[in-house]
């Protein structure tokens, strides 16, 4: 077949351009560290990358929710611990008045202690976190309990709807609590009424009523302890979930890297090969220009 002048130069130019394109692609791969820079580089890998980005984002949001929940539950845990302490003090004070030989001073001391405990318990249950009441159920802008000037505590002002925060697709933890479940539960009276009744019993020296009051304080103590146990389970769930999220994040990051990132060893090797190929193409192009029959005419 005849080989025309244009054939040689067309194929040479094509080879040089192809080598230059390959060199450019390898340079971009090395400098960007990415194997997939546009969807057409690898459409399947691109969709994998989109999915993994979505997964990483979800993990990030769940982690944020978990961190917020941890902070909130730490506050709740502190409140419940304080309530346990307060109720223990109240029981001790009441027990001290459970005797027919209690002096007026002892009675006044017990009453003062019980009043202080009552105020502390109101304060505990009225704890807020970032401006929202934790123990009002869903009525987070309403204080669960109010107190009049005489120290009389109102009935529960919140509701029984507890809210939760998602820390995974199917896992949630409580973010608000039903204060009435802790303060009263299934009992006939709430702890504040119990304390008020106990104060009246001590003032009147009614040993039977004092004893009944102490039993009611035991009931309140049990409710707080039970709530704290449930809280502990939530906190354990959070700790485990944070660890799982961290592991999921690492796995997802690895998959994302595998989908879109360049293997640097291969990329650098490819760059070296492309550089050599381009030099060879240019050298061949220069060599072709040197030989012509016209050169041999004298």
């Amino acid at each position: 077949m005849r080989v025309a002048f244009n054939t040689i130069y067309r194929s040479t130019i094509d080879d040089v351009n192809r080598a230059a394109q390959e060199l450019t692609d390898r340079q971009q791969e090395v400098s960007s560290g990415l194997r997939v820079r546009v969807p057409s580089d690898d459409p399947t890998a691109t969709t994998v990358a989109i999915q993994e980005h979505d997964q990483l984002n979800a993990i990030g949001q769940y982690s944020s929710n978990a961190d917020a929940a941890v902070a909130r539950l730490h506050v709740v845990d502190s409140v419940m611990s304080d309530m346990v302490t307060q109720l223990t003090v109240a029981k001790t004070a009441a027990a001290g008045a459970l005797t027919s030989t209690a002096t007026a001073g002892q009675k006044e001391g017990a009453i003062a202690t019980l009043q202080s405990v009552r105020d502390a318990l109101v304060s505990d249950l009225n704890t807020s976190f970032h401006g929202s009441y934790i123990f009002s159920g869903s009525k987070v802008t309403t204080a669960p309990y109010t107190q009049s000037g005489g120290g009389v505590v109102s009935s529960y002002q919140g509701d029984t709807n507890t809210m939760s925060i998602a820390i995974d697709k199917q896992i949630s933890v409580n973010s608000t609590f039903d204060g009435s479940a802790i303060a009263q539960g299934s009992a006939a009276t709430d702890v504040f009424t119990d304390i008020s009744n106990l104060i009246t019993a001590i003032q009147g020296g009614n040993l039977s009523a004092i004893n009944s009051g102490i039993q009611n304080l035991n009931g309140a103590f049990d409710r707080v302890a039970s709530a704290q146990t449930a809280l502990g389970i939530d906190e354990q769930t959070l700790t485990g979930q944070q660890a799982r999220l961290t592991a999921s994040q690492q796995a997802s990051t690895t998959r994302l890297s595998k989908a879109q990132d360049a293997n640097m060893a291969e990329a650098i090797s490819g760059l070296a090969q492309a550089t050599t190929a381009q030099q060879a193409a240019l050298g061949a192009a220069a060599t072709l220009n040197k030989v012509s029959l016209f050169d041999y005419f004298k």
């Binding site: 077949m1 005849r2 080989v3 025309a4 002048f5 244009n6 054939t7 067309r10 194929s11 094509d14 820079r37 546009v38 969807p39 057409s40 580089d41 690898d42 459409p43 399947t44 691109t46 969709t47 990358a49 989109i50 999915q51 993994e52 980005h53 979505d54 990483l56 984002n57 979800a58 990030g60 949001q61 944020s64 929710n65 917020a68 929940a69 970032h130 401006g131 929202s132 009441y133 009002s136 159920g137 869903s138 009525k139 987070v140 802008t141 509701d159 709807n161 809210m163 939760s164 925060i165 998602a166 697709k169 973010s175 608000t176 879109q260 012509s292 029959l293 016209f294 005419f297």
Partner: protein
Amino acid sequence: MSGLFGLLSATARALEAQTYGLNTVSQNVANVNTPGYSRRQVELAASAPTDALSAGNGVDVLGVRSEHDTMLDQRLWQEQPLQQQQSALANSLGVVQVAIGTPGTSIDSSLQQFFDAFSTLTQDPVSSSNRQQVVRQGQALATAFNQMADRLMSAQQNADSLVKTDVDAVNALASQIASLNDAIAQAGGGATTSGQALQDAQRQLVGQLTQLLPATVTTRSDGGLDLSVGSGQVLIAGGNAYALTTTPQAGSGLLAIKTSDGTDITSAVTSGHLGGLLAARDVNIPDYLSQLDDLAYAVVTQVNTKHVAGYDLNGNTGQNFFTALGSASGAAAAIAVDPAVAGDATKVAAGTTATPGDNETAADIAALSTQKVMNSGTTTFNDAWSALVYAVGQDTQTAQNQEQTHTSVVQQIQNLQDSISGVSLDEEAMSMMKFQRAYQASAQMFSVVNMTLDTLLQMVR
């Protein structure tokens, strides 16, 4: 004596013939880089003897032949449109895939941040900053959709404007080809060297035209070329070119291509550069826009359905988060946060009851990001976006690969053409030497005959 004079005459014609040969070589070498030039070959034939004892009468120049293969021309005019179609498509879609963005930075990211804002709202539904963040991310999501739709429509408009450019180029080329038909006919077609030069130029123009718009090329009896397009609509007949027109279509405003008799050939143009542009403009980009609109519409309707049933911080219900849309068509360009919500973050519905701390509506909306709420409950929002990106990437990659494949075929055909029509400098160098030596020999022969005549004349003095 008449024999010697005849010999002189024959030698003179030989000198002339070799000069023609050298001229042909010179022409070939001069046009080695001329696009579309077909190398010339001088045709020589022995001149018949005039009597029984004569060896011959020298050499006659029959003419100059242009070397080219009509079949290869036709093959090239069929293959180049396919190459150009994929090239135009790859270029148009290359712009689209850049507009689509990279994973984690585009619509997918905006969707994630929007639903994340609702998830953060569940932590503290009465927080003003959380509510403001929901509104801001909603606006950012709407803006992302608007801008993406705008980019796709701009790509479509760009393809449309290039359609006009290509049609104008087709008309200009057609006019030139028609003019050359007249010139070729007047020059005597391929039988003359001037006709051959005009035919070379005409074939080059036909090649340029068929790259833009596939055409059926037929050879005229006078050596010119007629072209028809579509399903037989005449584009060029003799010295007449029948220009194509572009008119905006009702509704879309995109250009339709019509022949001079008013026939709409838009849908019939499936290859050539025009075919690639039309495929991008009328098939690929509208498909991507449709998918984007479906996604935007699904986001609006799903979020609004939850939001309208929820209660805002003021205890009110029935408020859409996004401005309601009637259909998916144009949803991506139209999506916007409802002005009431945009202006007052307390109108963001977070709860299923009127109590301020209720976060269940916010949780339900946040959960939409992982639920299969599209395509009859088979895909999530992210799946739908992923499918759109895949379509763009796959279509672009296919066009690029097809372009490379057809380019290889075109190059092979061009190489075959060159093997017939192309100038080989080494070959021309040999021919030059051949005619040069022949000229030298004929000149020497002329001297010998001349000396012989002198000798004869001296004899009769």
